[in-house]
Each structure stands twice: as structure tokens, then as C-alpha cells.
Symmetry: C2
Subunit: 343 residues, 2 copies
């Protein structure tokens, strides 16, 4: 499996997810502005992967900063990275974490402080893989055997430092001996399902079939889907879940057809400062993502577009939230807080 | 507005809907096999338009047949046309209608019989436009003013001989003075919404915005959608509706959010021989429609695909069915039969 993001001597190296699966090319971020550009243009995407990228962005920014004026430069670097994408809270979580480590080690000599931040960014990456393995371990028992798992977007190795959240649950279910296959929503407009999820699962030899987003309801109604598993970009204190546009629809259709709907996400995706999902900012992206596919126009010239990149699924549609510390169920206001307080 | 289908001295001329909106080219069917090919490859699509094409296909077939052996040739022509696409019942309705006219005029000299069939096919086309105007007249009062209408696929002039069913309702609402705009689902995989509905409504100066299919639920939840209007490919006696894949999902999401869900269709779309929608055959089309967009691959090589072209919306999600003879509401088993029996 190709590495999503790595810290190297050349800079922060990412597989360019805008080009997959047709081209496998790496994008090297040589400074923090490159990292911000990569997040904004979705060279790297997926909430946990964005978190790792932001941590590495802070680290490379400080590593290249003037040692005489670090506080101000950290503020500039943090603001630039924080301005890339508004919805995934892992971005802000990672920037906050790096700022906290910076403050805790501000007394050190510059080289030691720099090395500590680089180590922290690498730790965010390594921890993420371990977290996803734990999510998989908690989620695997929930996946019905001998059925199809439906997933939306890509919450896989490519959306994280490795293994994946939703796809981590699927991988763990397969590793535990279950006989399942996967239906992947193509996930317009950016086609993360078609381009990334199918590719990832093929690499692992997991049986995957591609469907268009509007087929999900038909198959949920057909009885062959045993459960839905998706990732998350931000989860409010009450369990409302912001995730890739279309997730809300899948959740409603799952509930209507009595199919369990699971969200797999690290606790860094929780935003306990928001009481409900209504407060989560939803990014609206450029029209060209909808009007063009790989540069080919699919609509008349000058077509007006709406392009919200995310939607919010109210907690009543969420059967359970699978985290690295265990499975939360309704009422989420209590179960999520309890998981956060585990030491 | 460009004509969808016309009977000309050169043959049956159709705007090639596989090329719209980037290219406006006409495809001339010079024999009935060309017509069958055009239906199969979706040069022409939309249940009422397929009905007109099939009628003209029978007419051109008989017009080019050996007068000595008409019965056998009509059977061959009818079978070839009937084998093109399984779901839209208007195809079979039109073939049956042409066969009935043939039998009723079998006693005539060949030239007179031929001319009668050509006239009948042209009548099917002209009647369809009048039917759609009546559907619009019945449907317009149902459309809430100062709201957005959501539609799926293309049930417009291009899906019919002209004016459209669902888009006919929208056109009639606008003509009646209502201030509405339209959200058009792009309708993967064939993109009839992006390519055809947006283009049609732009031609008419009706405010239309394009969304991906997976955004429909988000906007239905937002409160800005006043109603959904879609067409139909086949309606069972109980009011279950087969229509373009994704319709079921939109219907469930509309009901979940208390948004009226209307189906606009001519009575030729009714199949009273089927007690429920479970008996409607659902066409599964080629994988390449999902894996490629305008020839560009959007998924890894050899991706497995499911590609049902239609789904069935159970009657409990249908607020009303708008026909040329009036509006049917539940219980549909009674209301649809009553409309059929109006003389």
C-alpha cells in the first residue's frame, strides 16, 4: 500500500490524490505554504490525513523559520493552515496540538524546539495508524457476516496516515475471518469512492463493487446491505456527524430500511465545543468540480452550481460511533463524553 | 427549442442525446434497425420519447417492408424494437398501438396501410405534446410559489415529443406566474440532469442550478425545496413507480423532510397488468457507463460495477401522480383506474 503522507529529508511527501488512480505521483511540500496548498486543493484529503498534514505543516514551517521571531511566525503558519478547509476539525485539533507542544517547549534552544515539533508531527502520523487499528478492532464485531458493507467517500488509508477509519473497520472485519464484500459509492463530485476506495480495496484483495451515489438507496432497500460504515469530518457533542456530502442521504435511507449506520472516527474528530451539528461550518467548493470531470465538461457552459462539500447527519440516524476507545451509542452526549474522559 | 424526434423524408431524425450539450448533432434513422439502435444506445431516451420512437420505428419498418409478407415482418420489427429496453412501458404501449392499427387496417392496399401507420406514428408524437401540456396544466397548481423545485433525471422536452412531463409541470408553473427556481440532480451515470435538464431550462430562461445526486437530501433537509417533480418509466396498478435510478432515494428523503413528491406521467406509462412495482423489470446497463465519463476513466481498470438504470419507488412515498386527465392520489389502485376509465 502506498503511503499517504511521510516526513522526509526533501519535505512532506504526499501521494497526489487528485491524480489517483490513473496516475500515481507524489507531491513534495517543500514549505508550509505547499502543505496549505495541498490541503486546499485536495492533494491530501480525509479528516485524519488533513490533521497529519497540518501537524507536519507546522513542523516544516517552524523548521524553516527565523529563530529570532518564532512566536509571530507560528501564528502566521497556524493561521494559513487553519484557513485551508473549514469543516474537518482534525485540522484545528492538529494545529492546536502543535501549538501546545510549542508552548511547552518554548524554553528550549531553537534546534531542540524544532526537533521536538518534527517529532510531534511524526508522532501524530504514527498514532493515527494505531488509532485506526483500534477503531478496526472495536468495529469489526459490528459488521454482519456474509453481507455487503456500503461505504461512502473514502475513509481509508488514503484519508488517514494508514489503515483507515471506515475502511479500517472493513479491513479488520475481513482479517477476523468474515466473508463480506463492499459497495463503494462513487462520491461525486470529487469521486473519492470511485478513484480511491475502489483502488485501496482492490490493493487489499477485498471484493468491491462501484455504484453511483444514487444507487445506494436502491441497494439498501434490496436487503443485501448488512451495514453502512462511513468516516467523519466533525462530530458535535450530541453525536451529529458532519461528513462528505451524501452521507446524510445514506443515513436516512439506511434507517428507512433498518440497516445499521456506523460512523468510524478517532476522538480527534469530536468537537465538544459544539452542542449540535447545526453549528458545524460547511465548506462550499468551486462550481468546476461539479461541471467538469477530469477537465471534461458535463454540463452546459456557465451552468450555475451548488457544491456543499459536506452535510450533517443528525444523531438519530447514527446507530453507533466507533472510536479508538470503544463504541458510543445514543445518548451520545453522555457516551462520547465518557469515551473522552477515559485515561 | 430543438425537436427531440421528427418524421422526415430522410427517415426518423433525432437530436443525439448522447452528445448534448457539448454537441448538437442529429441522428437520422434510415430503417427500423437504426431506430432500435438509437433507443438501445440512448440517442433517444425518456419513456414518452421512446414510445414515439418505437411507433416511428414500426412505421418506417413497414414502409420499407416487402408488401407480400407484412405480418411476419411486423412481428420481426416489433420484436426487435421491444427488445431494446425493458423498463419503460411506453415502448410496449406504442408497439402494441401500432400493431392494433395495423390489424384494423390490414384489409387496405399496402400503400394505404403504410400511410395509415405513418400517420399513426406522427399522431403519437403530436398527442404526446398535447398530453404533456395537459399534465402541466394539472400539475402547475401543486407547485409551491417562491420555492425551489427539485427534479431528477430529465423528464423534459427531450424525454418526450415536447414540453416534457416533470419539466412540463415546471414550465406550466412558471407560465402561470409563479416565481420558482429549479435544482437539477446531475443523474449519474448518464448525466441526463447535467446535460439535458440544465440545458433545456436554460433555453427557456428558467433559473436552474445543478447539484450532484448526493446533495439532494441535504437540500431537502434545508427547507428550501418546495416540492419534487419527476417523470416515470412504468407505474404499477398500485401506484409504485419505476423511474431513473436514484428516484427512490429522492422520494424517501422528500417524505422524511415533509416535502411533497410528485410523479408526472402520461397514462401510457401505467401498467395495470402489474399489481405492484416489484414485478417491473429493471434494466442493468454496461459497467463502462459508471467507470467512464465521456470516455475518461474515473475508476481503476477492471473495476466491478453494479448499474441498475432504474429503481422502484413504493407508492407510500408518492404524494400524487399527475396525468393528462388529472391528479391521482392514494389509494392509487382506485384513483389510477378511475383516470383510465374516463372517456
Amino acid at each position: 500500500m502506498i503511503e499517504t503522507i511521510q516526513w522526509t529529508g526533501e519535505g512532506v511527501v504526499m501521494i497526489d490524490q487528485t491524480l489517483l488512480p490513473n496516475q500515481q505521483e507524489f507531491f513534495t511540500c517543500r514549505d508550509y505554504k505547499d502543505v496549505a496548498h495541498a490541503i486546499r486543493t485536495m492533494v491530501i484529503r480525509g479528516a485524519p490525513a488533513i490533521g497529519v498534514a497540518a501537524a507536519m505543516g507546522v513542523a516544516i514551517g517552524i523548521a524553516q523559520a527565523d529563530p529570532e521571531n518564532l512566536d509571530a511566525q507560528l501564528a502566521v503558519i497556524s493561521a494559513e493552515l487553519a484557513g485551508t478547509r473549514p469543516t474537518a476539525v482534525n485540522l484545528f485539533w492538529a494545529i492546536d496540538r502543535m501549538n501546545r507542544v510549542y508552548r511547552e517547549h518554548r524554553h528550549l534552544a531553537y534546534e531542540a524546539l524544532r526537533d521536538r515539533l518534527i517529532a510531534e508531527a511524526q508522532l501524530v502520523r504514527v498514532e493515527d495508524i494505531a488509532i485506526n487499528t483500534a477503531i478496526g478492532r472495536h468495529g469489526a464485531p459490528l459488521v454482519p457476516d456474509h453481507k455487503t458493507v456500503l461505504t461512502h467517500c473514502n475513509a481509508g488509508a488514503l484519508a488517514t496516515a494508514g489503515y483507515g477509519t471506515a475502511l479500517g473497520v472493513i479491513r479488520a472485519a475481513v482479517e477476523s475471518g468474515k466473508t463480506i464484500d463492499v459497495f463503494a459509492d462513487e462520491t461525486r463530485p470529487f469521486l473519492q469512492g470511485a478513484r480511491l476506495t475502489v483502488w485501496e480495496l482492490q490493493q487489499d484483495g477485498i471484493d468491491v463493487k462501484l455504484i453511483t451515489d444514487n444507487m445506494a438507496g436502491h441497494f439498501l432497500h434490496s436487503g443485501q446491505i448488512g451495514c453502512v460504515v462511513v468516516g467523519a469530518d466533525r462530530i458535535a457533542a450530541n453525536g451529529d456527524v458532519a461528513n462528505k456530502i451524501g452521507t446524510y442521504s445514506v443515513a436516512v435511507l439506511a434507517k428507512e430500511n433498518n440497516v445499521p449506520f456506523y460512523v468510524a472516527a478517532p476522538l480527534s474528530t469530536l468537537d465538544l465545543t459544539l452542542s449540535t451539528g447545526d453549528q458545524i461550518p460547511i465548506e462550499e467548493r468551486a462550481a468546476i468540480e461539479v461541471t467538469h470531470v477530469f477537465g471534461v465538461p458535463v454540463a452546459p457552459h456557465d451552468t450555475e452550481v451548488r457544491n456543499p462539500a459536506f452535510d450533517v447527519t443528525p444523531n438519530r440516524y447514527v446507530t453507533a460511533i466507533i472510536t479508538e476507545r470503544g463504541v458510543a451509542r445514543a445518548p451520545y452526549i453522555e457516551s462520547l463524553r465518557a469515551l473522552m474522559e477515559i485515561k
